[in-house]
């Protein structure tokens, strides 16, 4: 087991390096010189070649790519992710300012989805091909079929047209003002959570269905156990593994991937920050954030895989 853990940990390094390298290259390949942008802007005046060169130097862009990459990696090793090219503040500071909101949204949406999805998924599996199954499947597919940004805008519009009410435009921590926080977060959590619940419901349904076919379940039936016992005490445990995988990876996705939701609901979260940074060619921010998101993703995956290996000895000896 130990060797397995070590092996997996060791394998994280090339993955992360690979991610870092890919981001690095992509950012440099996207057309648009950041120095020009900082000096240029919307309707700029004269751009002096010397000024441009000076800016390149200041940003460290005149070094060969390998050097730049090396310098960045060295910084990361010391937990220094650089400073944003646009705000001049350390990337970590900018990130930490936005993390609470994204985290809260991700956590609440996950809770909502898990609380809804697992029972519904199990129910649909237990009653496969009956009308209960159909309803649950239709509702959950509906949840993923409707574009999230559309739902978000519709919700805001309906609220403002019929109730003259709009959500607060600024984030307040749930610890300082729970009511204001609730007002801002409730609709994004509902929108994201519904979608997330839909995905999880379907996964739960399909894994429970698979597990139900296994021999040991048949034994349980044969023993005459009640359906509820069979489902919960026997099937659920094994069915949960892929579901946990899904929840874990979706959670990692939620931290950085909710650009559209954040835009629609005026949430100053990590997703929008990354997209803005790409638009501004703010290299340090994009590199740091994608790296951290990838790190989170990889760590979550590792934990899940370790859980699998612990539970299923066959995997360990590959």
């Amino acid at each position: 087991m130990r060797t397995y853990i070590l092996k997996r940990l060791f394998l994280i390094v090339p993955t992360l390096l690979g991610v870092a390298a890919v981001v690095f290259v992509i950012m440099r390949v996207i057309p648009g010189d950041v120095a020009l942008l900082i000096l240029g802007g919307d309707q700029a005046g004269h751009i002096d070649k010397a000024q441009l060169a000076a800016m390149h130097k200041q940003l460290g862009l005149d070094q060969p790519l390998i050097n730049q990459f090396g310098a960045w990696l060295w910084g990361v090793a010391r937990f220094d992710f650089g400073t944003s090219l646009w705000t001049g503040r350390p990337v970590i500071e900018e990130l930490l300012g936005r993390l609470p909101l994204s985290l809260e949204l991700a956590i609440l949406a996950t809770i909502v989805s898990v609380v809804l999805a697992i029972p519904m998924g199990m129910l649909a599996a237990a009653r496969q091909d009956t009308w209960i199954d159909y309803v649950i499947r239709v509702v959950s597919i509906g949840g993923l079929a409707i574009p999230s940004f559309w739902v978000g805008i519709l919700i805001i519009l309906l609220l403002v047209i019929y109730f003259g009410w709009g959500p607060p435009l600024e984030f307040t921590s749930p610890f300082s003002n729970p009511w204001a926080n609730f007002q801002q977060m409730v609709w994004p959590v509902v929108t994201v959570g519904y979608r997330y619940a839909a995905v999880t419901t379907r996964m739960t349904r399909s894994t429970v269905l698979e597990v139900m076919r296994d021999d040991y379940i048949r034994t349980a039936w044969a023993k005459g156990l009640r359906e509820r016992t069979v489902l919960i005490r026997h099937a659920l445990k094994n069915a949960m593994l892929p579901v946990i995988t899904l929840v874990g990876t979706e959670f990692a996705f939620l931290i950085g991937g909710l650009v559209v939701t954040e835009t629609v609901f005026t949430l100053n979260g990590v997703g929008r920050f990354v997209v803005d940074a790409v638009a501004h060619r703010d290299y340090p921010v994009v590199q740091a954030l994608v790296f951290l998101i990838a790190l989170g993703f990889v760590v979550v995956n590792l934990l899940i895989d370790l859980t699998y290996a612990w539970l299923d000895p066959r995997i360990r000896y590959r």
Binding site: L11, G271, V290
Partner: protein, 300 residues
Amino acid sequence: MSVQYPLERTAVAPLVPQLTWGDEVWSFIRKKPLGATGALIIAVMIFVALFAQVLAPYDPYAPDYASPFARPSASHWFGTDEFGRDVMSRVMFGARIALFVGFVASFVGCTVGALLGVISAYSGGKVDLFLERVMDILLAFPLLILALAIASILGPAVRFVVVAISVPIIPRAARVVRAAALAVKENQYVEAAGSLGASRRRVILQHILPNVAAPYIIMLTAQLGSAILTEAALSYLGLGTAEPTPSWGLMLSGSAASYAEKAPWIALFPGIAISLAVFGFNLFGDSLRDVLDPKLRKKA
């Protein structure tokens, strides 16, 4: 003449349907009405997309400055937009783009991913390790960011959007197919077939491929829906297809919300179209999985 080893026969038998195609389809419709509905929706969409030229009453690009924001009526079933363009014609032509993007991105992504997955699983060792790392790297990128970056580099033409959307699909498909291929590989009858002298190619074609066919097809249909949604999101963010192309995502973006009170039909119909398409593909894909996945057969 090669001897028919009963071992091979029975090993393959549970994987391959015994009934004829016609019987299968009919029993599918009867047993899986949801899936059949999904299939119907898809068929209608494909039909509309193929024959949009004939079916659409107006040129989707042609403006009519005299009647912007016209309510749905006999002459414009879905109304007109801010330039007086017929919404229904635009939705019909939009089906072309959505299905094109969906099919191609999903197909390219899933096929490349499946190939890589099979190669990875079958070769094992260093090749597997390397490919797995590459897939991990691609997977670790938030999907939208990756698509966004690619779209930024390549530009907003439809063909580039397809590439941008298919790239994140590759690792996801590779992962699933690799797991399925591995599962089969571990299976004893395959080992047995190998030790009986079956060539590598035969093992792959006759044993591994049929087993990964099911997850591959399921992934294909699942990613189709997701590809359509990603295109919509990219267009919404201004990085997908460009005006005046009648793509559904574009029709839903920004100003549709501004006009939502005055002319809700502008956003309503493309939104319904997207939802219906994704809905159909997912319904169908789900039922397909129920049928194809040997483990899920009710009678097993």
